[in-house]
Amino acid sequence: MYKVSATQLTDVLNTLAGTMDVFLPIRKDGQTNFGLYAEGVQADFDTLKTVKPPKEFFLPQSESLYKGVVDGKDIHIEPAAFADRPFVVFGMRGCDVLGMEILDKVYLGEPVDRFYEARRGHGCVVALACGRPASTCFCKPFGVDASDPQADVTAWLCGQYLYLEPVTERGRQLTHKLEPFLQDADAEDVAEYRQEIRERLEALPYNNLSLDALKDADMLEVFNSPVWDSVCDACIACGTCSYVCPTCQCYDIKDYNTGDGAIRYRTWDSCMYSDFTLMAHGNPRKTQKERFRQRFMHKLVYHPSTAGGQLSCVGCGRCVNKCPSSLNIVKIMKSLGVS
């Protein structure tokens, strides 16, 4: 383990930015999102949750796939280039790191998504322990240790120092670049801080949710539960929950006509939208009830059934925080028997 004096943080970031793109939380007008670091940009490591999850650096909200030109009878395809520039996402929280693990299962599972794979291959993740977890957090039930998030590098901002613990080879390469600033440190140095975090977590309302009720849940039984009839009453069918979710994976593929061809691109999509499954002759999910159910069935039942029981939720609490109608996954889990 290493430590860097907090006063040298800017130098650390500048050093990294010299060789790769550095994405870190930046606060603007009261909201914090990950953004590209440049000299002079103030990082915001205090805010716990960015509005947009950092999954966007591996699965951008919108991404060109190729440009297609119809030229008389011929068609020309110019594929978009795969990511080839190294980058680091600095300051991901434990929940978001787990979110990437879940996305990996989808996007790196056969057949591998090459665009995602390229980004994943060029990106390094520095995970930051959550000094002040919030009341909407519930990552522990999903196995996240917010005091010791595991990524390429684990980081703690504690006292006057930033502590760095490389976890993977890529993480070690990253810390290697920072050698001039690093001092050796000991796990003991952050032990107290970690303990503090754990204590704070214990005091949170959702910290000790038991997900047992969802284990080995019967797909049809949950699907046909009467719960769905009314839980979605307040849902306004927006995509906020999907777009702030670190595990939502769905995308749409669309064309944009540029005048001299079409750019085919993919964009995040939400199963909450009525056109998600719309076909010319009908829609298998006719009302918001079915769409709403799909989102939570996917997270709590369908995904686990294909991913060894792993739920597609990491307890980041963004949906709890941001849903315009105060709906959220905890409410749904509870109505399905989680306590």
């Binding site: 603007k28 007008d29 009261g30 909201q31 999102n33 716990l48 949750k49 509005v51 947009k52 909200q61 919108s62 919030a134 009341s135 909407t136 309302p205 959702y206 009314s230 009453d233 307040a234 306004i236 069918a237 927006c238 995509g239 906020t240 999907s242 777009y243 702030v244 749409d252 669309k254 944009y256 006509n257 691109y265 964009t267 995040w268 999509d269 939400s270 939208y273 009525s274 056109d275 709890v320 925080n321 941001k322 315009p324 109608s325 105060s326 709906l327 905890v330 409410k331």
Partner: protein, 293 residues
């Protein structure tokens, strides 16, 4: 007041005058009550009313009006304007709604479940009285935050240079994630098929692929609700990125007031909206945009 509402709702359900009650339901967080339909008297203990009941329930009445029976709905003064506007646009069946006007002392802005002060809309609130109701449940003791100039923000922005305004909006809109929360929560955005979901016009990009897309979405959305927006402030309230959407709507309202005379959407259910009417003799020419201040 909460107790009064529970009693009222209970009576309406008990004597069969109402099939359901639309109110706010208690959740795990006091600061985040959930809009909810109550059909059983027993559930009414979950009905809450406090300063966190910010959700404008008018929009839910579109769907409620399509169900059998009367729906009791609790509306704050500003919500009644939305309700009226929806009645005017034939989206709500007035006969199937029992409107209970409730007093409002302003709603709190909530971040991470913490009360962080007043919602902006409540600081500039001008809609103190209910414009439609079947019954009022009032609490005279509620006091509102001190009122600020509703158009202050717009005026300040108008005072900037064009490029400064452009940069301001670039800053705001570049954070937009196109989650559609502003649109879907908006009572005026009641189109069955939004033009931004329609495959017909190359407008359904779904994401802000370019800065143009951001501008297009918000310009057209503001424009489509022009003359219909009651300034209920829900769009700004629900925006996950806290984009100052109210400024766009209020700019149009301010223009309408200045150019065509004071107009408040939802004031009644008959007056033609400013964009579906005109004054042949007094309407300004568009060039006024370029010549005024």
């Amino acid at each position: 007041m909460q107790e009064q509402l529970r009693i009222l709702a209970g009576k309406m359900l008990a004597d069969g005058r109402a099939a359901r009650v639309l109110g706010w339901k208690r959740t795990d967080f006091e600061t985040a009550p959930e809009p909810s339909f109550f059909t059983a008297q027993d559930d009414l203990s979950e009905l809450v009313y406090n300063k966190y009941c910010a959700a404008n329930l008018s929009g839910f009445m579109i769907g409620a009006g399509k169900r059998d029976g009367v729906t009791v709905v609790f509306l704050k003064p500003c919500d009644t304007y939305s309700f009226n506007q929806l009645v005017k646009e034939h989206q709500i069946d007035r006969a199937k709604a029992y409107v209970v006007g409730v007093s409002c002392g302003g709603n709190a802005k909530v971040e991470e479940m913490e009360d962080v002060g007043w919602l902006e809309r409540c600081l500039v609130c001008t809609k103190h009285d209910h414009v439609v109701y079947d019954e009022l449940v009032l609490d005279e003791s509620l006091s509102r935050p001190e009122a600020q100039d509703r158009f202050g923000g717009v005026t300040r922005l108008e005072g900037l240079q064009s490029l400064e305004r452009y940069e301001f909006w670039q800053g705001e809109l570049s954070t937009c994630i196109r989650c559609n929360a502003c649109r879907n929560v908006c009572p005026a955005c009641n189109c069955k098929k939004c033009v931004f979901d329609s495959a017909k016009y190359d407008t359904a990009a779904k994401a802000n692929v370019t800065t143009f897309e951001e501008q297009l979405f918000h310009i057209i959305r503001a424009y489509h609700v022009a003359g219909r927006c009651t300034d209920c402030g829900e769009c700004a309230r629900v925006c996950p990125q806290d984009i100052k959407l109210q400024l766009l709507n209020r700019k149009i309202i301010k223009d309408i007031n200045e150019l065509y005379g004071e107009f408040q959407a939802g004031q009644d259910t008959e007056t033609l909206g400013p964009l579906t009417a005109f004054n042949a003799d007094t309407d300004a020419e568009p060039s006024i945009v370029h010549t005024r201040g």
